[in-house]
């Protein structure tokens, strides 16, 4: 049998999506379905006094739900239970749901919202991280701090004594919108036996399941969550679908009919989660030759009005905040704070793009201060096999940092291009400055620290009596290739053709809880569970097939019948087992933060127009080390898409907030890169297998999001001699940097 892993097999769901047969939530026709719409708050902070319903409006056409209709607890069950499903009294941000209306006409449902008046008693809001830290108003008592993390290694004081040069820097990054193609949407109905069923666009069916069971006071088996074909997520469908599902279910219960809620783009952008803005300070001590001696890093992230996933985002941000370098003395202090803005949440990279932007641009600044090339500085300090990270994790295997750096430098002609650009910039007649920037990052695969142990994920495979093989996992296909990759792993573990393997729809009544589809964990963690479960199935097949492995589908059917006996199918479920060598101390924030890291390096070439300060990325060269590329073409697709998203974050995406709410919540004025803005990309994947990943695989999805930002900023510095420490690097900021210099000089 030729292995499927490592080859570009056809995407499992490709034909359905290509031919338009795949059903996204808005495509599902549900008999008698009503359309739900959401009334939202309009003030950032205050007290809801009452709701006034226009007596002239024909309310009997509608079903209306308010907080009073919630049968269980009016709380979204996440890390903390601080967020209400519908506001009953205190308003904490300007896009909170207050009331829901369902009508058989979508237009009438929206019309009805205009006939409800919310009366408030406003309070002074906290809208910035600075005001939150100063406790201008205790909106999350007592300190407005959702989570405070301290990572310590070595001794800070002696580090600064030894340091020959100290470099300081302050960096800022803004919100970012996931901008998946399909907006959030969910349908709900109640089955005859009283089971609440929701069907919709989501990343984490069991998160939705847990929060619904809690809100409706139902036992687990009376709640069923099914993922519809989902048009992208990027983290944006990690926690918000729990709220949306509760809303749809509340309306469906009251209406006694199916109800669908589909957000349009402005509502989706303004109300649902964004990447956390952050503010990061570095103080770094080095020797004259560039050896890192001490790193002192402070991180503050804006969590928004409720805790949601902020502690976990902060944790990943903090752990990555020192960059992929070895330093004997490190202190990282990280805090996530509350503001009266919609909660920020998961977004590809999950805190790391923010802190790695600061860490990597700071490396460029250190190199400039010392007068050494940024490449030299990285070569001196890069993590190697046996190195110890900021959390004192000793890297035992699969360490690709040096490999990606060196390969990327050769591939891009970095050294030569740096010199050529510097020469070009001496010509005053040229209409543009040119620059080359470099960055190197790492990204931990899977949940942090003890996270995977707490998740205790399960996944497996089923063999049906008729010979159908189904991978069982709650991990969702959201465009990244989950089901194709699962089929490849299962096929190779079983020694069977990939075409013989199906992947079950994530439906909580059919699949075990394999955890959320996040954190670059689906392939490495869940894929390994699938592989292990398949080995058990393989053993069973071997007992009933001559030669051990079925050679035809007919032989498989015969074997299935023998294995299943009288049962319709037999399931093989594997549970997560922590590799013994992984040790994490959550109190001290020390130890093995991740089983393995993926690595990426990038070289970016830019030109900056001297008349308009417009920045054009001419070329990107990027090298990734991911253990094993299970599907090289899909992996490359993930990389190209992630790099484009990272370039958008670096150069143009700029959510504008006024009074706590995003005011450019439309694709017409929230500027995403188009294909014309996406430069040629030269990409290479390296493989240093990880012993606990399926066929050596580690995480990939988030790496490309982390890497472009600091390289773009470094390239702009190389071109213009101006540091732009705040993303996005807009032409307006470059102009300001020049004006500032003129004003001084």
């Amino acid at each position: 049998m030729t292995p499927a892993v490592g080859t570009n097999v056809l995407r499992k769901e490709g034909p359905e999506k290509l031919t338009g047969r795949a059903l996204y939530i808005d495509d599902h026709k549900l008999p008698g379905c009503l359309f739900g719409a959401t009334l939202r708050t309009t003030i950032p902070y205050g007290r809801l006094k009452r709701l006034v319903f226009d007596p002239a409006f024909p309310w009997k056409e509608c079903v209306v739900v308010t907080a009073k209709d919630i049968p269980g607890k009016n709380e979204v069950a996440l890390i903390e239970h601080d967020q209400p499903i519908l506001v009953d009294e205190i308003v904490r941000h300007p896009m909170e749901p207050i009331a829901l209306v369902a009508h058989k006409s979508r237009a009438r449902a929206y019309e009805a919202l205009k006939h409800i008046q919310a009366e408030y008693e406003p309070l002074d809001p906290v809208l910035t991280m600075e005001d939150s830290l100063a406790v201008k108003q205790a909106i999350f008592p007592p300190s407005n701090v959702f989570k405070d993390i301290l990572i310590q290694k070595g001794d800070l004081e002696s580090g600064f004594t030894q340091a020959e040069v100290v470099v300081e820097g302050e960096y800022r990054v803004p919100w970012q919108e996931q901008a998946y193609i399909e907006n959030n949407g969910m349908a709900a109905w109640v089955d005859k036996d009283g089971t609440i069923v929701v069907l919709g666009s989501m990343q984490c069916p069991y998160y939705v399941h847990k929060s619904l069971a809690y809100a409706f006071g139902k036992p687990a088996e009376k709640v069923r969550v099914i993922q519809a074909t989902t048009g992208g997520g990027f983290g944006g469908k990690e926690d918000y679908p729990s709220i949306l599902a509760a809303h749809a279910a509340l309306l469906a219960i009251k209406a006694k009919k199916p109800v669908k809620i589909i957000y349009d783009r402005p509502e989706d952008m303004a109300a649902t989660t964004k990447r956390h803005p952050a503010w990061i300070k570095h103080r770094t001590g080095v020797t004259r030759h560039g050896k890192l001696v001490v790193q002192d890093v402070e991180v503050v992230m804006d969590g928004g009005a409720y805790m949601t996933l902020s502690p976990v985002v902060l944790s990943r941000g903090a752990i990555h905040a020192a960059g992929p370098y070895e330093c004997p003395n490190v202190r990282i202090r990280a805090r996530a704070v509350a503001t009266n803005t919609p909660p920020n949440g998961a977004f590809r990279g999950f805190g790391a793009p923010q802190t790695l932007y600061a860490a990597e641009l700071h490396m460029a600044k250190i190199a400039h201060t010392l007068g050494v090339d940024p490449l030299t500085l990285r070569r001196i300090n890069v993590l190697k096999l046996g190195s110890s990270t900021a959390t004192s994790q000793v890297l035992r295997e699969s360490v690709g940092a040096e490999d990606v750096l060196e390969r990327c430098v050769v591939k891009s002609g970095y050294v030569k291009r740096r010199i050529e650009c510097a020469q070009h910039n001496r010509d005053p007649k040229s209409p543009a400055w040119k620059g080359v920037g470099l960055s190197l990052i790492y990204h931990g695969s899977g949940f942090t620290g003890a996270g995977e142990v707490m998740l205790a994920s399960q996944a497996g495979v089923a063999l049906d009596k008729d010979g159908r093989i189904r991978v069982l996992a709650a991990s969702t296909e959201i465009g990244q290739g989950t089901i194709t990759m699962f089929a490849q792993i299962a096929a190779d573990a079983l020694g069977l053709p990939v075409g013989w393997v199906d992947v079950e729809t994530p439906d909580t009544s059919k699949v075990p809880n394999s955890g959320p589809t996040v954190a670059s964990r689906t392939c490495m963690i869940v894929g390994e569970l699938v592989r292990r479960a398949c080995l058990d199935l393989k053993n069973d097949l071997a007992t009933v097939v001559k030669g051990g492995v079925p050679r035809s589908e007919k032989e498989l059917r015969r074997a299935a019948s023998a294995v299943c006996g009288k049962a319709p199918s037999k399931e093989y479920i594997a549970s997560y087992e922590k590799p013994r060598e992984i040790v994490w101390d959550d109190k001290a924030y020390r130890g093995d933060a991740y089983g393995a890291f993926g690595y990426a390096a990038i070289v970016v070439e830019v030109e900056v127009d001297k008349a308009t300060y417009e920045i054009k990325v001419d070329k990107v060269t990027s090298v990734f080390e991911i253990g094993k590329a299970v599907h090289p073409l899909l992996a490359e697709g993930q990389i190209i898409g992630g790099l484009a998203q990272g370039l958008g974050y670096s150069l143009m995406e700029d959510p504008v907030y006024r009074n706590g709410v995003m005011v450019n919540a439309q694709l017409t004025n929230y500027i995403l890169p188009t294909s014309l803005d996406t430069p040629p990309m030269d990409i290479e994947i390296l493989e240093k297998p990880y012993s606990h990943g399926p066929f050596g695989a580690k995480g990939l999805g988030e790496l490309p999001m982390d890497v472009p930002g600091p390289a773009v900023a470094a390239a702009v510095f190389h071109a213009t001699g101006r540091w732009i420490p705040e993303l996005p690097i807009l032409p307006e900021k470059i102009l300001k940097a020049f004006s500032h210099d003129q004003a001084k000089g």
Binding site: A107, T612, V656, I671, D677
Partner: protein, 285 residues
């Protein structure tokens, strides 16, 4: 998606006469040409319950007529056609270049020159070219026809001086006395396509035999409530040689004609500086 087509009434004239008569009877109707701006409002539900006058079927307004004295462009000519039209590319290249930067290909295929003018956005990408070419706008109503210079069409942000019942039927570009010695079109946006201008400019320059400026025409958009000719700079250079000093002097006068603002897309400072830089590079480089 909050647009509710069922709540809207669509009038579909097939001829110019029918269009002006229908509009006279339904003066509150919203005229729609390519619909690229209207769709944004429709999507937000802002047109629910409205009457719409769909002009797309008025064939006679689609024509582009090349005459000796100029080119008469039917209001429904799309940006894609203007981008490709041989006579426009030859005689009025700034307009073709501008049309090639409107939205993206999809928008250019559908958006029209008449719709662009009627929408009167401060950022209309074709307006600086039209201003430099001193376009004349032909309007029609049930009461008759009249012409007015482009500069009199725009009354403010998204406002025109068209009288109730008036529709734009064509835009006339008078031939230039000769081929300009220099020209430039420059659009500055946040990305390479589908972008609203931060500043957008067009200019032509005619030089005398002795190298002095015979005539400079320069206009910018997105830097004032409506497109503006930079008259002070134009006048200051008349009859003078272009030198670093005279170019700088002209650049120093742009604030007499424009007054950019800070908004979601850019800043006053940026718009001013970049407008000046583009003008300087055009005059003296």
């Amino acid at each position: 998606m909050r647009g509710d087509s069922a709540s809207m009434k669509v009038l579909r004239p097939a001829t110019a006469d029918e269009a002006v008569r229908m509009y006279a009877r339904a003066p509150k109707a919203l005229p729609v040409a390519g619909g690229t701006d209207v769709m944004v409002l429709w999507n937000a539900g802002l047109l629910n319950g409205r009457v719409v006058l769909d002009l797309w079927g008025v064939e006679e307004w689609r024509k582009i007529r090349v005459r000796k004295d100029g080119i008469l462009i039917g209001a429904l000519a799309t940006h894609a056609r203007l981008r490709e039209h041989p006579a426009i590319r030859e005689k009025f290249p700034l307009l073709s270049e501008a049309c090639a930067t409107v939205g993206a290909e999809q928008i250019q295929n559908r958006g029209t020159i008449g719709g662009n003018v009627a929408n009167a956005s401060p950022a209309g990408d074709t307006f600086p070219a039209l201003a430099v070419y001193e376009a004349v706008v032909h309007v029609a109503s049930a009461k008759g026809r009249r012409t007015l210079p482009l500069s009199q069409v725009f009354a403010g942000v998204k406002k025109t001086a068209l009288a109730p019942g008036e529709l734009i039927e064509a835009i006339f570009l008078p031939m230039l006395p000769r081929r300009p010695d220099r020209r430039v079109f420059r659009k500055v946006g946040q990305r390479a396509a589908q972008t609203i201008s931060k500043t957008v400019g067009a200019a032509v320059l005619f030089l005398n035999k002795d190298g002095t400026v015979e005539e400079l025409r320069v206009a910018f958009g997105s830097v004032a409530p409506t497109v503006r000719r930079l008259r002070a700079a134009e006048d200051a250079l008349k009859g003078r040689l272009l030198t670093a000093a005279s170019a700088e002097e002209a650049c120093g006068l742009i604030e007499r004609d424009i007054s950019p603002i800070d908004d979601m897309r850019s800043t006053r400072e940026y718009r001013l500086r970049v407008t000046r830089n583009i003008l300087r590079a055009f005059l003296w480089s």
